[in-house]
């Protein structure tokens, strides 16, 4: 079995062990997550970075068991506070969802129900997870949480419908719902990708602030390296259903060892550096119904050798807490 980012310690909150999630599209098997091990410690922000379609969102949803019916968790385990989520049934999972692990979605314009007022939606989440029976208690809690996410005119806005809010405000409402029950882990799936840059920054500030106050861990799923660099303690790079490198933010950003990570970082445009053309990683992400043999990145890698085609590299520790799956890592 492959090893995770680090040896599990007492502080480990979530441990994904050799997880495989396959989609069965009428006979075509898509290996979206193919043997991923990852752990998240208490209070930590872990970034999961990868191109579209590399399986990062599938991993996020697999943790909450929110996969569509045609997806199958083939093997592996997910341990949350030492309890296996894989073994839990739907009823037990409902207590985990929103209560102990919650999720923030990419698109705030479609994640709120357009037919209910914002106040109704938040108070129903609060009533679900907290033993508040008096109407006034629920309302007080709603106002409190909405203020916490920076909507100051909370009282006046609760009877409004989602379409009466700006996109950034809607994402604040989504965050309010996600953190209302004091979860231990928040899975943020591209939380700012559909927002414009200035709003992005404010939403990230908010997440930062809430995390310090409520002390939850975050799994930040994104394709945006800059965002991960800002927020994360550790970063995991995913490529074609597998983790290729993980380690501390500083190590990943300044001393990337995997050829893919290296290429990704080289492709980030920098303001102070004048270039004629942007560097792009050649080729396209592989088809996950029939992934390349050996190292999945080899068809796009400038340094591919015979061994890269024939056998699959495993994640190995090159430094403390820094793992790379590459036969010829960057020195």
């Amino acid at each position: 079995m492959e090893r995770g980012i680090a040896t599990p310690t007492a502080e480990t909150l979530l441990e994904v062990r050799n997880l495989k999630v396959y989609y069965d599209l009428s006979g075509r098997i898509v290996k979206a997550v193919d043997g991923v091990s990852l752990d998240i410690r208490k209070g930590e922000v872990v970034g999961l970075i990868g191109e579209s379609g590399c399986g990062k969102s599938t991993l996020g949803r697999a943790i909450l068991k929110l996969l569509p019916p045609y997806a199958k968790t083939v093997s592996g385990d997910i341990l949350f506070e030492s309890e296996s989520l894989i073994e839990k049934d739907e009823n037990e999972m409902r207590k985990v969802r929103g209560g102990r692990i919650s999720m923030i979605f990419q698109n705030p314009t479609s994640s709120l129900n357009p037919a209910l007022t914002v106040g109704e939606q938040i108070s129903e989440v609060i009533r679900l997870h907290q033993q508040l029976h008096r109407k006034s208690d629920v309302r007080a809690k709603v106002v409190d949480i909405v203020r916490k996410v920076g909507i100051w005119d909370a009282q006046d806005r609760l009877h409004n419908y989602p379409y009466e809010f700006s996109v950034g405000m809607r994402q604040r409402v989504m965050i309010a719902m996600a953190v209302s029950a004091n979860p231990k882990l928040v899975i943020a799936d591209e939380p700012t990708s559909s927002l414009d840059v200035s709003v992005q920054a404010r939403i990230l500030d908010l997440l930062h602030k809430l995390r310090e106050e409520l002390r939850f861990s975050v799994l930040l799923i994104t394709h945006n390296i800059g965002l991960a660099a800002d927020m994360c303690d550790r970063i995991a790079i995913m490529y074609a259903g597998k983790l290729v490198e993980c380690g501390g933010r500083h190590e990943i950003l300044t001393k990337p060892r995997h050829r893919y990570t290296f290429a990704l970082l080289k492709a980030v445009p920098l303001l102070h550096k004048e270039t004629d053309a942007l560097y792009i990683v050649k080729g396209n992400p592989p088809d996950l119904t029939d992934p390349p043999s050996g190292c999945r990145f080899h068809p796009r890698c400038d340094y591919a050798k015979g061994i890269c085609r024939n056998s699959e590299p495993t994640l190995t520790e090159v430094e403390r807490d820094h793992l790379v799956a590459c036969f010829d890592p960057v020195e």
Partner: protein, 278 residues
């Protein structure tokens, strides 16, 4: 509520057809609700010596072949028609809502089973089924007609509700609700239903029109209850006197046309402004 009324008012002022439909609906529904106050005579009262009178001041729409006032029969008849249509709609909703919601939301085997049953009923020609059922039951009470129409007509509504649930189930907010720990029943009632209710209202309006037509059809071919006044019964009576006493069937015919048209216009407009804003 005030906002809704404001929208309705703007729409009504914009479209003359809708204004007409609304006016017509208000008039006929009032007629149906208070026939005893509005109708000049009892619908079954026979005026001896006045059989087959053409429209006059005493009988604005004339009398039928045995001397009953046509206007009074139209007014009382719509009471019957509306009651039957509403009853049938209730039966239809009671079946179509659970079938459509469960089928669309859960999919898989539940969907397969429910939809094959729906298809089987859908495959039968409605009007023939209606005639056979009414004949077989032989009960000429309103309840049997209501049940039969509701039991036959729910399939399209169920199919539509299924398709809509299927769409809403995949919406981010339904997935997000599950991610917050809500159960399936909650998601169905609070997220799916409110977002498809406009579609249900629109289809219900169209179905009301159908029920009125079906009832008229059943009575027209002589399967209705001859003691209860209805629009179909008037058409049935008038059929034999079309050449000599056309008013017996022409007036109820016009009422059926306008009422069905109004329901359809209303349904169309509702589908425009009931759409949930995003």
């Amino acid at each position: 509520m005030n906002a809704l009324l404001a929208i309705v008012w703007t729409e009504v002022r914009r479209s003359k057809l809708l204004a007409f439909a609304c006016t017509w609906m208000i008039i006929t529904v009032l007629m149906a609700a208070f026939p005893f106050a509005i109708a000049p005579y009892s619908p079954n009262k026979i005026f001896p010596g006045n059989a087959g009178t053409p429209p006059s001041l005493q009988f604005p729409f004339g009398t039928d072949h045995i001397g009953r006032d046509v206007l009074s029969q139209i007014i009382w008849g719509f009471s019957t028609s509306l009651l039957i249509a509403l009853g049938a709609l209730l039966v239809e909703l009671l079946i179509a809502l659970p079938v459509g919601l469960l089928s669309g939301y859960f999919g898989g085997r539940v969907d397969q089973l429910l939809m094959r049953i729906t298809d089987a009923i859908l495959a039968m020609p409605t009007i023939v089924l209606l005639i056979v059922a009414v004949t077989l039951l032989r009960v000429e009470s309103l309840v049997s007609i209501i049940l039969v129409m509701g039991l036959i007509n729910w399939t399209w509504l169920a199919k539509t509700i299924r398709a809509e649930s299927l769409r809403v189930r995949e919406e981010d907010y339904a997935v997000a609700a599950k991610s917050m720990g809500f159960g399936d029943l909650y998601v169905i009632v609070r997220h799916i239903l409110p977002n498809i209710v406009s579609t249900i209202i629109v289809i219900s309006t169209f179905d009301m029109a159908w029920f009125i037509l079906y009832e008229a059809t059943i009575s027209f071919i002589g399967l209705g209850n001859p003691t209860i006044p209805s629009w179909g019964r008037l058409l049935y009576i008038g059929r034999g006197f079309l050449g000599t006493q056309p008013w017996i069937s022409v007036f109820p015919g016009v009422f059926i046309c306008l009422t069905v048209l109004s329901f359809n216009v209303l349904g169309d407009s509702l589908s425009d402004f009931l759409t949930v804003k995003r």
